[in-house]
């Protein structure tokens, strides 16, 4: 175990010291922060400037507390028209009976004006209508926009991180095999210590990346204020994301490292990694689809099937509410898959990594002895 940690530590120190890691981390952090601010900048709180000509102001603030309203009074309709055409105001209420706009009125504003006007008039006539009580019997959709946004960001982050770290493990294995340093290492270390140390070390580097991204993203969201739109249970979601990343990484990295041990040259890495990259891509597409339709059959089924579940499940968890037992079941299935991958990967690695030269056939390695 001690040796495994020594190997892991070397991987971490080596990676953290590279310029690529540092610049990569800074760029991702800036991007994530930008994404966290973007909704605020793009569609900040609705604010309307309204005018009145010979009318009372409508109590719009009470009906739409999230929006801001600025009122201006105009002396006559002509002045109001000029202001509308000059886009100084969005709409002008004339004589309490008509609304002047430049072209079609903003949908939300139109509905708002109509209903508040109706209510005010009815109220004045002594009729009071209790507002309809809204009750959802399905999933809580109040946070749907925020949830979808979170899920989209998450699917991209998880995909990039998995592809990146898994590639690193494969390259690291081939670097050691190709330079034959593995021969010296394995006269001192057992194969599982070397292989395990590499997976643990590069996984730790991935976690550092992921935690940085999450921290920057959440901090930026809090600063920008969009954190207020986040659904409840964010700490659970963050923990879930970390756990699912660890599981997905462990699965894909082990197989990638094992496949990479079949070849001796960096140019050959891509060809052995193709099946693994394909599976990650499929997971990515399904997960992306799940951001749109998190309760659909495809998303539901794939969120249980390892290794697809490693991206699909956390994305489903972000996009909608997932009962605990479902998350637990998917986790158990994925843990079993990781254990199987570790057993298989360690066997392949141990048998292939010292066989330098031409590409070793997977069948040969699995069959012998």
């Amino acid at each position: 175990m001690n040796e495994l940690m020594l190997v892991a530590r070397r991987e971490i120190v080596t990676q953290l010291r590279t310029k690529a890691f540092v610049t990569g981390l800074i760029i991702t952090a800036v991007l994530v922060a930008a994404v966290s601010f973007a909704p605020k900048l793009l569609d900040g709180p609705n604010s309307y400037t309204l005018g009145t000509v010979n009318s009372q102001r409508l109590p719009l603030e009470a009906a739409a507390p999230d929006s801001e309203f600025t009122w201006r009074a105009f002396s006559d309709e002509a002045a109001a028209k000029r202001a509308v055409l000059a886009k100084d105001v969005d709409a002008v209420l004339v004589n309490g009976t008509k609304v002047l706009t430049d072209g079609e009125i903003d949908d939300q504003l139109g509905v708002l004006l109509q209903s508040v006007n109706r209510e005010a008039k009815l109220g004045a006539a002594g009729v009071s209508i209790p507002p309809l009580k809204m009750e959802s019997v399905g999933a809580d959709t109040r946070y749907q926009a925020a949830r979808t946004g979170l899920a989209v960001v998450l699917v991209i982050v998880l995909f990039m991180m998995l592809i990146g770290q898994v590639g690193m493990v494969a390259m690291g294995v081939v670097e050691e095999k190709g330079s034959r340093i593995v021969e010296i290492l394995l006269s001192t270390l057992r194969p599982w210590q070397l292989f395990g140390g590499k997976i643990v070390g590069l996984g730790a580097v991935g976690l550092i990346n992921l935690v940085t991204i999450l921290t920057v993203g959440l901090t930026a969201a809090m600063v920008s204020g969009i954190a207020g739109d986040f659904p409840p249970g964010m700490p659970g979601l963050v923990a879930g994301v970390v756990v699912w990343f660890v599981l997905g990484y462990a699965f894909f990295a082990t197989l990638a490292g094992a496949f990479a041990s079949l070849v001796s040259r960096l140019e050959e890495v891509n060809s052995v990694l193709t099946p693994i990259i394909m599976v990650i891509m499929v997971s990515y597409f399904v997960a992306f689809y799940a951001t749109i339709d998190p309760t659909g059959t495809l998303a539901m089924v794939m969120s249980y099937v390892p290794p697809f579940s490693s991206i699909v499940m956390p994305v489903r968890m972000a996009a909608t509410e997932v009962p605990l037992w479902q998350a637990g079941l998917a986790t158990a299935a994925m843990v079993a898959a990781v254990l199987a991958a570790l057993a298989f990967g360690a066997k392949v690695y141990q048998r292939a990594v010292l066989r330098t030269g031409a590409r070793v056939r997977l069948g040969d390695v699995v069959r012998v002895r």
Binding site: R10, R180, S187, T188
Partner: protein, 298 residues
């Protein structure tokens, strides 16, 4: 005592060689503590395969490797120093860190590993490059780093595959000194080399491998005495037919006649030579290791 007994290894064949290739065909030898053992043989004779089996990076089909009477295990090998034929270094890692890392992997504490690394870098002449990445070093210097990695820990046995290849004469001396020191400390040292003069100069005993078998082994002196001495006489401008009836062969080079023989009465030969012409050289010559080697693998 490191004992290698009856190692057999056959590599799986390809389409062109369905039966595979026999790499080792029952090779056996032993190296005592404090003995320097030179391993010589033509390319493909089985030296590297033997060393890889000793280091546990390759499995023999049959045969045994034992150290101090016990079958060699993983924990024993951790105290071995090894330098494979195919050199391997982390190209981007710094020199000192790399040597230290291997010390740590062999179970040294951080402080001892650092100290041992400093000592070795001084001795092998790479101390001023300690913070450079390995890839910035010349091949010769990379080789020194490779050696330092094999020597850094407290080794019980040293196994080096072609440690001298690619080194300049100064580095050869530095390495030879380092090996001799280890040897004097009671460590058995096995190294392979094609530089036979070097093997002859450094080694207590030599093993000559050919086609996966040990064809001759023993001390250099033993190997020599097994071969007969050659008497070599050089006579300038001798009378014609002077060597008629003498054993051996005569070669003519200009006005010099050179007689080589491994038997006959040397005093009689000398008298005949003096009578025939001007004797420039008369002496017994011991075969060099190169000659023994050529004889053994022929």
């Amino acid at each position: 005592m490191l004992e290698i007994g009856e190692l057999h290894k056959r590599f799986a064949g390809g389409p062109d060689a369905p039966d595979g290739k026999i790499a080792l065909d029952g090779i056996s030898f032993a190296v005592r503590p404090g003995e320097m053992f030179g391993f010589v043989g033509a390319n493909g004779a089985g030296k590297t395969t033997t060393m890889r089996i000793v280091m546990g990076v390759l499995q023999a089909d049959s045969g045994s490797v034992s150290w101090q009477g016990r079958s060699l295990g993983y924990d024993d090998r951790r105290r071995f120093g090894y330098m494979p034929e195919e050199r391997g270094l982390y190209q981007k890692m710094r020199v000192a860190e790399q040597i230290e890392y291997f010390g740590r992997l062999h179970g040294m504490s951080a402080a001892t590993a650092r100290k041992a690394t400093e000592d070795l870098m001084e001795r092998l002449g790479v101390a001023e490059r300690r913070n450079d990445p390995v890839q910035a070093l010349s091949l010769g210097n990379q080789q020194r780093v490779q050696l330092a990695m094999a020597l850094v820990h407290d080794i019980e046995v040293l196994v080096l595959d072609e440690p001298f290849s690619g080194l300049d004469p100064i580095a050869v001396d530095a390495l030879a000194t380092a090996l001799q020191e280890r040897c004097r400390g009671g460590v058995p040292v096995i190294f392979s080399s094609h530089q036979l003069e070097l093997v002859e100069r450094l080694c207590d005993s030599v093993g000559i491998v050919s086609a996966g078998r040990m064809v001759a082994s023993g001390t250099v002196a033993d190997l020599r005495s097994a071969e007969d001495d050659t008497l070599r006489v050089v006579v300038r401008d001798p009378s014609p037919g002077w060597a008629d009836g003498l054993p051996g062969t005569v070669t003519v080079s200009g006005d010099r006649h050179i007689l080589r023989t491994t038997n006959g009465d040397d005093q009689e030969i000398l008298r005949r030579a003096i009578k025939a012409g001007h004797v420039e050289h008369f002496g017994h010559e011991r075969p060099t290791l190169t000659e023994i080697f050529k004889e053994a693998v022929a």
